[in-house]
């Protein structure tokens, strides 16, 4: 009699062990970034890059969210700037209100507003703000997602709709001078938080630590979401949604959930980014910025969480260095990056490492190529050619 319980047990034990190893590695890396990186950057005389690293790690949190919905669930959102900015605005509004009793933020007086608009009122309280940073974007994403997914709108249609909603939010925030200071945005570095200026070194190092902490938390959240049954279901939705529906699941709820979680992550990232860059303005709701978020994930590697983080960090550092050196050429590089990653490296950096990278390494140390089995048959150029010509 054949029982398959022993192998299952051992594999779950092995999985637990590898999870523990992974946890240890992640914690070690985060400790290194937390304590090592500032020391190192100060030692080579590049202190300003510490702040940059902090900001880019905040962006890596958005990339994790995008990876959840694009890499795992297959929905390309071009509107994550909305959620990012909403989180940023929520925290910025709280910071703006850290004033003596009865005083209004400065810009209100410029536009002749003498009473605080109603939606500013709750931002006096810190707990509400902290909730709002995550839950306002998540709620809006959930609502939009429900309206869209319920009708099985997806693929390119979904991307276009998210982009259009991005434009809508941009227009709203950009044109409402009296409510949220319009184009100028809200400055946060000259405001006080717990009696310290948010732009001071002391506060900034706290924000840096918080960013690392939240990045690790976000990583574990995404890891947890994607490793279990939910993760497998998400991948199934990505690969063949109709089949998932025929199997008796309703993908709508799962898609809404993932979209909301990813928006919540974006909101958190927006808040962390805002306090470290000192300002939030409708510029973060640019079309270009939201599409860039997607390319970070694509560069790192879709459907791999580490890839998303790496991609966000690599692309942003490359961007900041290239724009310092050749301010005009960056757009060419960025365009080329989009083209090359999408056409030549569809798996991103991590995907390359998993396939071609391993082969390259094996051939370098004199080992034979691995045998092609069925999954790699689908990557055979000839089969691919046939499929393209007889699509469907």
């Amino acid at each position: 009699m054949i029982t398959d319980s022993p192998p299952v047990k051992s594999s779950s034990a092995m999985r637990r062990r590898s999870l523990v190893i992974e946890g240890v590695i992640v914690v070690a890396i985060s400790l290194l970034i937390l304590f090592g990186a500032p020391q190192f950057l100060t030692a080579i005389g590049q202190e300003f890059r510490i702040n940059m690293l902090g900001r880019f790690m905040a962006l890596a949190i958005v990339a994790l969210g995008i990876d959840l919905i694009w890499g795992y669930t297959g929905m390309l959102s071009l509107g994550h700037g909305i959620f990012f900015s909403l989180g940023g605005y929520a925290l910025a509004m709280f910071l703006q209100l850290q004033l003596p009793e009865g005083q209004l933020p400065e810009f209100f007086t410029l536009f002749g507003v003498d009473k605080l608009p109603w939606f500013w009122q709750p931002f006096h309280s810190l707990p509400f703000t902290l909730m709002a940073i995550v839950f306002i974007p998540a709620t809006i994403a959930g609502l939009l997602g429900y309206l869209v997914f319920r009708n099985r709108i997806r693929g390119v249609y979904f991307s276009i709709l998210t982009q259009a909603s991005l434009i809508v939010f941009f227009n709203f925030f950009n044109s409402q001078q009296k409510l949220i200071n319009g184009t100028n945005g809200l400055k946060t570095d000259t405001t006080k938080i717990f009696g310290v200026y948010a732009g001071s070194d002391q506060a900034q190092s706290v924000f840096y630590t918080l960013t690392v902490l939240f990045l690790v938390l976000a990583y574990f959240l995404c890891r947890w979401l994607t490793s279990g049954r939910l993760g497998r279901l998400l991948i199934a939705i990505r690969d063949d949604e109709s089949r998932v529906r025929f199997s008796g699941y309703d993908p709508t709820g799962f898609k809404v959930l993932v979209f909301a979680v990813s928006a919540g992550l974006a909101g958190m990232a927006g808040a962390l980014y805002t306090v470290q860059s000192g300002i939030i303005s409708p510029k973060t709701m640019d079309i270009a910025f939201s599409i860039e978020m997607v390319i970070w994930v694509a560069v790192g590697g879709r459907a791999s969480l580490i890839g998303a983080i790496l991609g966000a960090l690599i692309v942003n550092f490359a961007r900041s260095i290239l724009t310092e050196q050749f301010p005009e050429i960056w757009l060419f590089f960025q365009g080329a990056l989009f083209l090359v990653v999408v056409t030549v490296l569809p798996g991103g950096f991590i995907g390359w490492l998993r396939n071609e990278g391993q082969e390259l390494f094996r051939s370098l140390i004199g080992r034979p190529r691995r045998v092609m089995t069925y999954p790699s048959l689908s990557e055979d150029p000839e089969v691919e050619y046939e499929r393209q010509n007889l699509r469907n």
């Binding site: 694009w70 390119v156 276009i160 809508v168 757009l331 056409t343």
Partner: protein
């Protein structure tokens, strides 16, 4: 009140006609290949810049000829952008069929490159690009005659690309040093350029208190001509029949011997050419800059989404509806109508400017999609994923 409503209606129609012209190419391509071309706006921009170049060329011919430049510009814009579209299809999009989301990202990359290209194009750059193309593609053409071409292709690419890029780069540098500013000065620069409409387009018809500008009429007529042309092409010509067949069922058409690859390339070129014509029309309305395309792109996407896939009628109705709704709400033409219901009028007044109108129109579109998720005139069929 009636006249103001009529004015609003006409302005809405003329905005809608620009949208329609811009969306026409996008809609055809989307219907055929399921590909959203994010560079469509930039193709419009290239069309507008072509108009600018043609206009400058005609300035030297003097008055009677200058008035007619717009027709030459329309033709030039069509062919320049169609050629660009063809290159784009052959170079990038062909490799990404069946992966619409990746195509979207790739075309966004193209749009970034085109935007920066227009800003910094100069004689040095043109020469460099020319040298690179001649060297690289020439060498590849020579190599492709060899029998073992499949084996050495990867190897040849890794050697040839850096080699020809290096030669082109140094040739450009040398030219730049010899001729200095004359060769390195950007043609257009980052500022906007102005296209002057020919004299006979600058006036308008007086309709009571309202001035009906000829330019808007011209664009309306142009749109009608383009739609008629598209309709005749799709319904009466052999290639039109093939395009329609592939739009409906690609694999069946391929089985019946329709060259689907050529149909794709042709359609993409046609759609891009229409973008060029749209750009030419847009250049008559205001100044043209590297970011011109971005102003229209999202509205044109909305036209495609609302209109439904691959239907000319859908695009027409959607463009007109969105144009009129945008204008009516933005210009506050509707609130007098509902003066008997002050709350609604107040709401309408809150949305009464160009950017807030977009907010309301988007809300309306999302509501509309709740009832007709596949657009006004959906493709009929029995597919699961229609």
């Amino acid at each position: 009140m009636l006249t103001s409503l009529l004015d609003g209606l006409f302005d809405g129609i003329s905005i809608g006609s620009v949208l329609l012209l811009a969306a026409l190419g996008l809609a055809i391509v989307f219907g055929l290949m399921g590909v959203i071309n994010m560079a469509h706006g930039e193709l419009m921009m290239i069309g507008a810049y072509t108009t600018f170049v043609v206009q400058n060329a005609f300035k030297s011919f003097g008055q009677p000829w200058f008035g007619a430049y717009i027709f030459v510009a329309l033709i030039c814009a069509f062919f320049v952008t169609a050629l660009l579209g063809l290159i784009l299809e052959k170079g990038v999009i062909r490799h990404l069929y069946g992966r619409p989301l990746e195509t979207l990202l790739a075309t966004w990359g193209v749009s970034l490159i085109l935007r920066q290209f227009v800003r910094s194009v100069s004689w040095v750059m043109v020469l460099g690009l020319g040298v690179f193309c001649v060297l690289y593609f020439g060498a590849m053409a020579i190599l492709s005659r060899r029998p073992n071409v499949e084996k050495i292709r990867g190897w040849a690419r890794t050697v040839l690309i850096p080699l020809s890029a290096g030669i082109a780069w140094s040739a450009g540098n040398m030219l730049g040093q010899t001729y200095q500013l004359a060769a390195t000065k950007p043609w257009f620069g980052a500022q906007n350029v102005d296209v002057t409409a020919p004299g006979w387009l600058r006036k308008g018809i007086k309709l009571g208190t309202y001035q009906l500008p000829y330019v808007r009429l011209f664009i309306l007529v142009l749109t009608i001509v383009c739609i008629l042309g598209m309709y005749l092409f799709l319904q009466r010509s052999a290639w039109g029949l093939r395009i329609r067949a592939v739009t409906q069922n690609r694999s069946m058409s391929a089985c019946l011997g329709i060259p689907t690859e050529r149909v794709d390339a042709l359609t993409f070129a046609l759609g891009s050419g229409l973008a060029g014509v749209a750009g030419c029309a847009v250049s008559l309305l205001g100044s043209v800059g590297p970011n011109t395309g971005q102003n229209y792109i999202v509205d044109t996407f909305m036209v495609v989404v609302v209109g439904g896939v691959g239907k000319l009628v859908g695009s027409i109705v959607a463009a007109m509806a969105i144009g009129i709704a945008n204008y009516m709400i933005g210009a506050d033409a509707l609130s007098p109508l509902v003066s008997w219901f002050p709350q609604l009028a107040a709401v309408l007044q809150f949305f009464a400017n160009a950017s807030m109108a977009k907010v309301l129109v988007f809300a309306l579109i999302v509501t509309f999609l709740q009832f007709r998720p596949a657009g006004i005139f959906p493709q009929k069929g029995r597919m699961v994923d229609a």
